[in-house]
Structure formats: structure tokens, C-alpha cells
Symmetry: C2
């Protein structure tokens, strides 16, 4: 199989404008919003082969395939963020499934977010964009599925914050999900997780270029804060071991055993160079208000809260079958957090498969092409495919670019 | 034993002015510097009962006892940073030992540092203060001992960065150390450790109030950067478990199971309140240039570097006996890092005791009054005391306030 035939090829983002307000968990509403999304593969005749992918912090609706330039030519390095998992013949096989990924409201990748105009004021939302939660995102995604004519998902899948959305789908819309695949996730954030988010937020909010979230009007971006936020993020995405093997104590431009330059501000170690590069890159494209919103959505997610902290009671609503996957070196959302989910599901007699993958890459592993991990995913999606009554996709989905809901 | 009789009581900081330049590892020299220090207990007749305590990042020469106000009255809450360990009848017993703690150059607690005047320029050092290393600090401490007439230490002891100094003493001055007690330390920083330091430094250096390190002249302090640096530090000092038990997902002013306020910038969770408080407090008193210098000293420490990474070869110089202590939940300097030191010492046939203390508090444990930990320390110092030829302290040290070296 060549690389080309293994890709979904060029994909065009689509958009739906929603005029009915979206009620939010906070009590606020989101008015006149639009959602960007992409689809891959074809919906089958009985509309039973749809798989919804939920994205995490720094990701968009562009989960697979390539984007094209104005002439329709594929853009280099435009692969979707989970392209190694999703495509023809891949573990989530677009020859069998119709895959949908929706950009969540509040994002900075196309759906209505803080950089858009608040219809109530005629001014850019900025920091006044309403606080959105995992539950709100799930409801927004459900409206896209309504437009696409998808009543029930073969599966909902996500990693990290995306895994939280996948879990929440099974609680908010239990009848609409047959399988839930939640990877490298947790039933809520620990105090340490919240602490890292809070430091990142403080770095952004206290950057003088943040201007109380109205930096757009000042023609600046709180780059210093975004850089620090991203550097902190990267440390928590990687395992201690993989940082040691990638960077160790290597110096930049010299042998590890050479004398360093003895400078407090210049780059000495390769890990510093890596982090500064990642921070700079991130500050070029990510929106500071979106960062605040998304980290807060992470903080607030806690389905057990309404059940006095009892996760088993919370998960009783779920009717789906589950695959839960964790990675041994993930210290952000450790295997112990996934096992809490597994236990809560087993307490309710649910059908749950659990894989704890021995991988060195830490939290990042869920995005990587790890053979053991992908074989688990392939086997599970093959099982879902075998349950489909119509195996040959032969219906076209509604063309939603034309639709206003 | 009452609390009062268990304290070294009021202690007065002392200072020595050094006119001979201190050559630094970087090739630079430190001229006309002074060092602050404190002593506790009495030096015995043959000057064999001296114990040097080396301080870590956020600490000073004030390791035990109380400071007094202008009338000689003890100031409340002025206990030294290791007062639970050091005093009459305490594990490091000042009835038996003469304890010395020196504030390292580059610090902001009294010894010559970035906020002092560079004698070469007549201007405040700021960011031009020479880069100091663990080895430089050890040499500076040795000069204080020279003035005090202490040829050989009964022991050198330190935790974290202080432990690195203790280890370095045994390599730089092997004849001057009979015992080395190194707690919660590492033979060098991992890539992850360096990464956390780098994020903290970037937060400080990119704060507009840093003014390239010359903020003193602008009448400002880079508080935003210092706050973020300290918040990051606190996350790494505590274990995930202790954060969970101290803060969990508790909300501020409400029950954990109540609805949150839904705000991206207001404090919601108790862990946020704790971190902001710690960051604010730190930014009131800590010097930004000192933070850069001390984190770099941590980064650079690596005795194995000159031996192509072979720690056993590096430790061959040491002649001391060792007690190495680590804490199970310390993820900053994990027990595995202490075991590297133990192995290198055993490879050289050295006398080494190792205690891995099962404590929940993470890296902070080395500063806390944990019974198992303190019993290990007490037993080891009792052994050192039993080796002293003169058991009754009866000589007064040189009065160094009068001395210029």
C-alpha cells in the first residue's frame, strides 16, 4: 500500500451557521455561532457507520487528510493531527467508517471563538466569550450530527481532553453512542493538573500585552505568556524518560562533556532550545483567550461532581460499550486515572475493554504511531465494523455547507 | 523538654569581608565580597565537631534559632529554615556539634549578590553578576571555615541543591570532610528538571519589568515572572498525592460538589489560591537575578561531566563516609537519582548508608519533621558524635565579625 492510497487525500473544511442559541452549562448562551468540521469516508445507507472524533487542546476539526491550495493541490505538511490513525486501511478505517470531527466553540481554528464578534455588542468577544465546558462542546457536536442526519454514532473517540468529551457523550446522549473509545484521559483533573493549568493561565493573564483579553484591539498578542504556557504544557506531555533520551543533558552546539558557556539567559542545553522553539511556534498561531477557555474546560470536567464524587453513580447513565486506553509513562493522565473509569464502568456491569500500553512517550503517546497501541485501536474498530448491518458505505451525507440550522 | 530549651535561641548573623578575589569555575572572579553566616553550638577544643550546613534555592545562612529585634527580643516566626532538625537535643544536636551555615554568593539574603555594587564599575551588578556554580559556593564556604579555624568538618550536610554542595565538598576538599549527609538530591539535573528551571527563567526574563536585569534602577521588580517561577517551583516540590490530599478539587468558599463560578480568571480551586499566595509572597522578597543564578547553578552541577559521564569515576576522589537519604514521593529528585550516587560510592568501596524514606510530601519532605527521616538523621549524627575525640565543646570560635580575610 503506498502512502498516497493510505491517506484520505484532500479534504475541505465545512461550516454550519446555527441561529438557535446554544445554552451553556454556566447559564449563559452562545448566539449565532458557526462550527467548522470535516468528514472522511462515506456515510452508509442506514447511517450507522459514523464515528465522531473529539479534539483536545491544541487541535482542530482537521483530524485527517490534507488541505489544498487555491489550485486544489495538496499543501505540504498539512496532514490532520490524527492522520496516522485515520484513513483508508488505517486503524480507524475510512473505507468502513464515516468520520466526523467538529471544531469546538471557543477554539481559535475556525468555529466561533473569542476573536469573533459578539452579536449582542458588535464587538470582538475577547475575554468576554462565555465559559464553555466539555458538556457544552458535546451538545454543539450533537447539533452538527443532527444536521448531518446522524442519529446514532457507531463510536465516539478522543484522547486527553477529547477522551473527556467521548466519556461525556455516553452520559449526555447515551442513546446516541454505541461505542466510546477514550484514550489517555481522566475522569477529572487532579490538583496537580489544575495547578499546571493555573500557572499557564497566570503567565498569559499577567502578560501586559494581554490587555484584559482585548489585545486584538491593541494590535498585539500576549506572546510571553503563551510561550511560557506552551513550555509548561510540553513538559507535562512528555515523560521524564523520553525527555532524557531526546535531550538528556546535551548542550547546544557542543559535546555534552564540554564546558558550558556559563550564562543565565543564553540557551545552553538542548531541552531549552526545544522548549523555546515550541513556545515561539505556539505563540504565532494560538489565541490566548482560547487557551484560558480550554484549560478551564479541562478543570471543570468532573462527571462525578453531581454525584457527590461517586464516579460509579455518574457512569450509571452510560449505555455504550467502552475501550479505555492508557500509557504507562503518561504522568499527566496516568493509567491509575483510566483505571478509575474502568472500575466505575465495571461497577455498572458495562462492557469495557482496557489496554495499558507500555510506551515511553508520556501523554503524547496517544498522538503517535505506536504499533501496540494502533493494533489495539484497529482490533476494536474492526469489531465495531463487524457489527454494522450495512457494510458497504453507499449514501452521501447531506451537503452541510449549504445548510443553516 | 520544653520548646524553648529545644531551640538554639536567639542567634546573630555574622559577616566576613574577603579582599582576596574568589576565582570562579566560569573563569571570572568575584572581588571584594562579603559572606553572611551563622553558627550554633560551640566548637570543641580540637575543633573536630564542626558541621557545615549548605542551603538550597530559597534559603539563607539562618538555618536554626531565632532572630531578635533591636531590643534583643526574639522575633516571632523567625525560626531558621531547618530549625526542626538543628538545636539542642535535636537530630543535629548543637549540644554536641558546632553548626555553621554560610549564605552563598549570588544570594539575596545578605552575602554579596546581584543587588550589590560591582567594585569594578561602581554600579549595581544586576544581571552582570558572575555566574556562580556549586563548586564556587563550596570554595566560598571553605574560606569562611578557614577564618573560623576549622580545618576539617565532622560533616557537611545539605538537602536538594544543598545536597549537591555536600557531595561537591567531598570531591573538591576530600581531606576536609569526614562525613557527607546528602538528602533529596541528585548527581545532576535531568532534562525535565532543567526544563522546569528554563520555563521559570523565561517567565522572569521576559517580564517587561526585568529590564535586562537592571530593574533596580527602574524602581520595579519583575513580580509577574517571579510569581510564575515560584508557582512552577511549588508544583515540583509537592507530590501529586500530597496536592490531592491538601487541595484535591476543593473550591474556594464552596463545597467541592457545588457549581463553580465559571470564570477563566477568578480563583475557583483551592490549589489556585495556594499557588497565587505562594507566588505573591515570593515576589515580595526574592531577587530575580538571584533566581536565575541559583537555577543555573543547579543546571550546571554535574561532577560526572569531566569524567565522560561516569559518576563512579567522579566519586573516586571522595574520602568521606556518606549518608544518602531520599523520599519515595519526591519526583523532582527521585530515589532513583540517589541510588545513582549510592552505586557510584559503592563502586569505589566507600562507606555509605542509604535510607529511602516512605513519606508522602514529595521533595519538600527534606524540610519537614518526619519521624522516620529524623530518626535516621539522629542515628547518623549520633554515630558521628561518638567518633569525636573531644566530646565536650569548650573552645570558642574566632570572632569573625572582626575579621577581614
Amino acid at each position: 500500500m503506498t502512502a498516497a492510497s493510505n491517506s484520505v487525500g484532500v479534504v475541505t473544511p465545512q461550516s454550519i451557521q446555527f441561529n438557535a442559541p446554544l445554552p451553556l452549562k454556566s447559564g449563559a448562551v452562545l448566539k449565532n455561532y458557526h462550527l467548522m468540521f470535516e468528514t472522511y469516508g462515506r456515510l452508509n445507507a442506514d447511517r450507522s457507520n459514523a464515528v465522531l472524533v473529539c479534539h483536545a487542546l491544541n487541535a482542530s476539526h482537521h483530524v485527517a487528510g490534507l488541505h489544498a491550495d487555491a489550485n486544489g493541490q495538496p499543501l505540504p505538511k498539512s496532514e490532520g493531527w490524527w492522520d496516522n490513525l485515520i484513513g483508508p486501511g488505517k486503524p480507524l478505517d475510512t473505507d468502513k467508517f464515516f468520520v466526523v470531527c467538529v471544531n469546538n466553540p471557543g477554539s481559535c481554528f475556525g468555529s466561533t471563538g473569542p476573536m469573533h464578534v459578539n452579536p449582542d455588542t458588535g464587538r470582538i468577544y475577547g475575554a468576554s466569550f462565555p465559559v464553555v465546558t466539555v458538556e457544552d462542546w458535546v451538545n454543539a457536536q450533537a447539533r452538527v450530527l443532527d444536521v448531518l442526519g446522524i442519529e446514532q454514532l457507531a463510536a465516539v473517540v478522543g484522547g486527553s481532553l477529547g477522551g473527556m468529551q467521548a466519556l461525556s457523550w455516553t452520559l449526555q446522549h447515551p442513546d446516541r453512542v454505541r461505542h466510546c473509545v477514550a484514550v489517555a484521559t481522566a475522569p477529572n483533573l487532579s490538583a496537580q493538573n489544575i495547578a499546571f493549568n493555573e500557572v499557564a493561565r497566570r503567565a498569559i493573564v499577567t502578560d501586559p500585552d494581554f490587555h484584559s483579553g482585548n489585545f486584538y484591539a491593541h494590535g498585539v498578542v500576549p506572546r510571553r505568556g503563551l510561550r511560557v504556557a506552551r513550555m509548561i504544557g510540553h513538559i507535562t506531555y512528555l515523560s521524564d524518560d523520553v525527555m532524557a533520551s531526546k535531550f538528556g543533558r546535551e548542550l547546544v552546539g557542543r559535546d555534552r562533556h564540554d564546558e558550558p558557556n556559563y550564562s543565565t539567559q543564553d540557551i545552553e542545553f538542548q531541552v531549552e532550545s526545544y522548549l523555546r522553539y515550541q513556545g515561539d511556534k505556539f505563540s504565532d498561531y494560538f489565541d490566548a483567550n482560547t487557551y484560558l477557555l480550554i484549560t478551564r474546560a479541562l478543570d471543570y470536567f468532573d462527571p462525578a461532581r453531581a454525584h457527590q464524587g461517586n464516579l460509579s453513580a455518574a457512569m450509571a447513565k452510560a449505555l455504550a460499550k467502552f475501550l479505555i486506553v492508557s500509557f504507562t509513562t503518561d504522568w499527566r493522565f496516568s493509567p491509575a486515572r483510566s483505571r478509575e473509569i474502568v472500575k466505575a464502568l465495571l461497577d455498572n456491569g458495562r462492557d469495557v475493554s482496557y489496554a495499558e500500553i507500555d510506551a515511553p512517550h508520556g501523554h503524547d503517546a496517544f498522538l503517535l504511531d505506536d504499533a501496540r497501541y494502533h493494533e489495539v485501536m484497529r482490533a476494536y474498530f474492526d469489531r465495531i465494523a463487524s457489527e454494522l448491518t450495512t457494510t458497504a458505505p453507499n449514501a452521501s451525507p447531506t451537503q452541510p455547507s449549504e445548510v443553516a440550522a
